[in-house]
Subunit: 336 residues, 2 copies
């Protein structure tokens, strides 16, 4: 399985991406990686890493002369920087030279390039970013986490179906519970968008459990949470920010005197367990569901470990035939 | 200063409300409280509490025969239950028999009753719920936290002006920084609503710092965060849910063995500090800004302590003349 990696995307690229690619190749023997980006810089990174000859055969470099900058507008970036690493990585997918792509770069450019060059799957109007939200007992999938800013009810319906397929086929949940993010759990609660989406989701062949609200998210078992990309992005970033703030605060409080420091030392395994289970590096990649190709977005601040895990997510999505399953479910919905 | 208290509103009413009223009277000597609700039940609660004679003179009971149930629709509740404790409490405000009201009951009925009976302030189209979000260094005001579900740019502008006035006059922030909740900090980022609201807020006589996003909320200093009520409610409830989930999880992890338990015991002051500073009971009340009267919403699960603090919030809002200041700022904006 060939996976194209945007070697220049992300805050720590190409160091993180090249190291992540090597780690992924060491872990999974059935993949090959195409490093897309500035050949000289990639080779320089590779020179710092000891790579076994057998492993070296499993990656190639595909030169791309440009890099999308975080300050670029998404559409401009795709239109004007035709030889950017992200555009070229998408081209490899579009041409059939790769089966999946991974990028930790500019989210907007990633979404626009994938949507324009790969097109959406039959029956899908807009792709949605799905992201796994860690919780103590039951991590859930949030879709759309920010591919779109203004959505219509039918888009939310499609996110629900795609999220359900991904949860069941890749994450392995049986008959995944799909909730609609709203304010108030009763059917009539919400804004114009969610009230109309509620009707559509009720008629879909998914296990729709109705509205879920913020109070439920980390308490009530739900497998897929559907919302528009604006709300989803707010939930994702607010949650990351709040969790980070709580732990930083706790750390400072625990350092304030020797008694607390001793206590923290004794209790450290408790903190480590939570940190491990909520580490976004472990989740690594967010699939852009609905485009005609497997495209995985890694966090902008991805470490090599996060890149390695995003590559794993790409591999799983291909292996579990996510897109054929989505097409099948959407087509069934259209016929019913 | 007379404050009307919806004695029947909230999960633990009337026990929590009556006890909260007594505690508020003990604390602040310049207030009188009108307990609005079922006279027999209120008197029964009072019978359980030892109340000094001097203090007893400072409250009266205003009988109301009905209670808005959490399952009622907001508009139906206000139309059909004319003798509900919340409606009667608003009546007291409308008639000038009270200067402020506090309710821990049905949020929708509270907003609808206040808006219909009191009307909005001149220049304000819709009221917004403002809530203080606790953080380590710089608690911020979030507006609208859920009074409305669908908002227009001018509503967000008005929320920004009202939030700025409240932050400055009641919370005491100098030249409060007002941010617009969006996805991405650049001016062009966001959905249709926030892009248009950005323009309006830029022209207002407030210290508008532009877009803020979820990643900033608990890290970057901002005094007022403006958003539509759907997004605000999602932020409020998601944050409460996540913070609660993290601490419950931590508690379970810390109990897993004797070493961790010992550590937790030594470090307990660190946990207590954070719990105290993030305790919603301390914040107590969320003002519904923009209606012609001081209306404070307390959390549905308010304890007597939370009710006491919500009464304090009501008292402060009256004392600091929030509404005259809002009218003045809105009128200035209209003239500029």
């Amino acid at each position: 399985m060939k996976i194209a990696l945007d070697a220049m995307g992300g805050d720590f690229a190409p160091t993180s991406t090249v190291a992540g690619a090597v780690a992924a190749l060491e872990k999974d023997h059935d993949i090959e990686i195409i490093l897309v980006g500035d050949q000289a810089r990639i080779e320089k990174e590779l020179a710092h890493i000891e790579v076994a000859t057998a492993l070296r055969k499993r990656f190639t470099i595909h030169h791309a002369s440009q890099i999308v900058d975080m300050a670029d507008s998404a559409i401009d970036a795709v239109r004007r920087k035709k030889d950017s690493s992200i555009s070229r990585a998408v081209d490899l997918l579009a041409n059939g030279e790769a089966e999946a792509l991974v990028s930790a770069g500019h989210t907007g450019a990633f979404v626009v390039a994938a949507t324009l060059k790969l097109r959406t799957l039959p029956g899908i109007d807009r792709p949605g970013i799905a992201t796994v939200m860690p919780t103590e007992a039951n991590p859930f999938l949030l879709i759309d986490a920010g591919a779109n800013v203004d959505s219509e009810p039918k888009h939310l319906l499609q996110f629900g179906i795609m999220g359900s397929v991904y949860s069941s086929k890749v994450i392995g949940r049986k008959n995944p519970r799909v909730g609609l993010m709203s304010i108030g759990t009763e059917a009539g609660k919400g804004n114009e968008l969610t009230k109309a989406a509620y009707e559509e989701l009720s008629r879909a062949r998914i296990n729709f459990i109705g509205n879920v609200e913020g109070h439920d998210l980390f308490n009530r078992p739900v497998d897929v949470v559907v919302c528009d990309g604006f709300v989803g992005n707010v939930i994702l970033k607010t949650s990351e920010s709040l969790a980070g703030a709580i732990f930083s605060w706790l750390k400072r409080e625990l350092k304030k005197d020797l008694v607390r420091q001793t206590g923290a030392l004794l209790a450290k395994e408790a903190f480590y367990t939570i940190r491990r289970k909520t580490n976004t590096e472990e989740y690594g990649g967010m699939p852009l569901l609905g485009v005609n190709g497997i495209c995985i977005k890694a966090h902008g601040n991805s470490s090599s470990k996060a890149i390695k895990n995003a590559i794993r997510v790409a591999r799983e999505a291909v292996a579990h035939k996510v897109n054929p399953h989505i097409v099948e479910e959407i087509s069934r919905h259209g016929q019913s």
